[in-house]
Amino acid sequence: MSFPLLTATAVLPAIGAIATAAVPAARRNAAKSLALLFSLATLVLAIVVLVRFDPDGARYQLTESHSWIADFGVRYELGVDGIAVALIALTALLIPFIILAGWHDADPLETGSKRWRPTQGFFALILAVEAMVILSFEATDVFLFYIFFEAMLIPMYFLIGGFGDRAHEHGEETASTQRSYAAVKFLLYNLVGGLIMLAAVIGLYVVAGNFSLTEIAEARANGSLDMATNTERWLFLGFFFAFAVKAPLWPLHTWLPNAMGEATAPVAVLITAVVDKVGTFAMLRFCLQLFPEASKWATPAILVLALISIIYGALLAVGQRDIKRLVAYASISHFGFIIMGIFAMTSQGQSGATLYMVNHGISTAALMLVAGFLISRRGSRLIADYGGVQKVAPVLAGTFLIGGLATLSLPGLAPFVSEFLVLVGTFARYPAIGIIATFGIVLAALYTLVLYQRTMTGPVKPEVSAMPDLRARELVVVAPLIVLLIFLGVYPKPVTDIVDPAVKQTLSDVQKKDPQPEVEAAK
Amino acid sequence: MNPVNYLYLAALLFTIGATGVLIRRNAIVVFMCIELMLNACNLALVAFSRMHGNLDGQIIAFFTMVVAAAEVVVGLAIIVSLFRSRHSASVDDASLMKL
């Protein structure tokens, strides 16, 4: 029994959460450093996982398996394939930046405000989310996965509802009411999805007799377990619904703008860059592996929904007046791309989708965190309240621009690679959808540049004339992300090498082959 | 006579006790009714032990008594402190569960 690396990776932040929460209120700065320390340690462990993982080895590696609820065949089974490894690395990488960016977000408000802000609670919750997300990436037991998939809602709920932007244009009262509305909305949407999934999980147990992903997928593959077509479809829908809410896919997306708009920027990043990834990841791992036939059956509908998400999200982003909501709708558009790539059922599409999850995490983090810095300076989320920032805070503007360019997936930055792969992958099988989706890149340019023009350029608004440029801490947060964006844009090979074999296996589960180029075929 | 009657008697007593719990407002009386229910159970257990011809039933009954004793001690203590704070032993007064 070797050292349980995966468990350690997930448990470490959990311990960190408890330790941080235990710090007395007087020493809140100590709590911050402690949380940061733990997140960094987790990052180290994640890197160890990354190193120990052998792309050409077995499908699931570093596996752990212990009996848990023997009566129902629920096991504590962990294991990672390339996709999971990549996402774990992303999560572990982002959390320290999120903590660092939110360094002052949970400080007690200045006197006169009624709200109580438990500083160490903020960081403890973030670490708790990290632990659960990592576990749900690692779990290869459906029931185990379900538990963490649901459990991560609780800390998220408190993060959204409990901590808003320091100052708010409408004053503290309305802010808190809107916040709680957003938090409840987030919770309800995801809980409903989760309940439906629970039904499907139970159904799966009834059909398959156990919860082990590997065993069931095995049985599905070699035909020893065959489901009735309708059963399989219903179960698939049950799973997919939950993931589509989390992802989020049109028309189940409306919780995201509220949540991201009301939460502080770091929490918003946590939502869209880390937590939502679980949804798309689960589509790839559970929907496709457990229900290959049903997945193929549902593909056209899902592709259309994804397409709608892409265009719709982009159009709404253009129409927004609130910086954070704009980013939220942009994310909806990007998730459309990811889902499209997954269900295009081509290796380019799925590799692209996985790569997209990583890149989108980084790029959104960069953009959103800088936006957060901007908002914290002016105390307003309305685009109209800014203008000419570029002149007073050039570095801030520059980083903001780079984040924006990454969002519109400029070649040379990481998101371009993934987006193009997704488009090519989709186009290869569904040309019409691929072409329509390409309009998304024009719209992306539109909302990004409009945002940049309205906030950063033009004559300097008096309110922003005294705005300070990025501070050291903030630069420490942004610079590495930007470096990473550029590096992965120029040299994505490290990621693709890890991801590719896993994707190949997933495709073989679905028994799909890439369409061959016509001319080659002719020769 | 069939010893099963003991069980019927136990059931009857238990029901009476339960009803009492529901009807009475005086916490002490409610408590007594609970004791009554416990005793009914004990009777049933004893009858069972006779039925199966081993002493396990009696053991359980014995434990029940011990637990009942402990429960009474704590419960009465609670009642007393309740009475101190609200000058009444009515269970309805402690209606803080109301939304």
Partner: protein, 288 residues
Amino acid sequence: MSAQLAAYSTSQLAAYSTSTGEAFQFWVLGTVAVIGALCTVFMKRAVHSALCLAGTMIILAVFYLANGAYFLGIVQIVVYTGAIMMLFLFVVMLVGVTAADSLKETIKGQRWLALVCGLGFGILLVAGIGNASLTEFSGLAEANAGGNVEGLAALIFTKYVFAFEITGALLITAAVGAMVLTHRERTERARTQRELAEQRVREGTNVPPLPAPGVYARHNAVDIAGLLPDGTPSELTVSKTLRERGQIRDVSTEALNDLKALEQRAEERLERTAIEPPTFKRTEEASK
């Protein structure tokens, strides 16, 4: 006693159906037990309930003995009836009698619901026992062969030893808990007489000291309310406990009638035409 009981029952207990003696005992005592239970529920005063319950318990003790649970029977009498019920009585004394004793229902529909549920529950239980196949009674003959207490002991200290230990821990905890609960830390300084007086003045209710009992009544017993000038008794003059127990003796009417008689005699002596004085009735106010 337990010896001959043992002799008596070891012969009988193995049997499928019991001796007529036990049957007789069952029917008589069983009835009494049920009545006692009912009284426990429906008696107005907590004290009476407690006594009825004690009775029921003793009867149950007898039943235990009859079922061959000698040890339990004794324990029932000693521990339950002896210790626990006494504890109850103490608390009743401590708490005193309160308005909670009245059987008047305050929650709408509660009583009916309770009765329906109770009846349904009882019927279901009985039905359950009825259709369970409980014909075969093996009896405790061999189980009690080595003596009931020894048998129990053997079980308790071997098979159930952990449970036994835990219950021991439980008892200690309970004792400590009871002490913690009932022990009252005086949080604020007791208020001096001056402060009390000032509070009375501030609130403006009975600024002077409460009236003494027995005033205008030619009585000086504490349980007799003093009369107000119009002859009605004033509850204020009697101590709170008596008031709550409703143990106020009301003497207003006979007091006034005495006065009337006195005046009549005076009239006769002075040969005056008798003016009909109004006869006093007990006012509702006085009745309670």
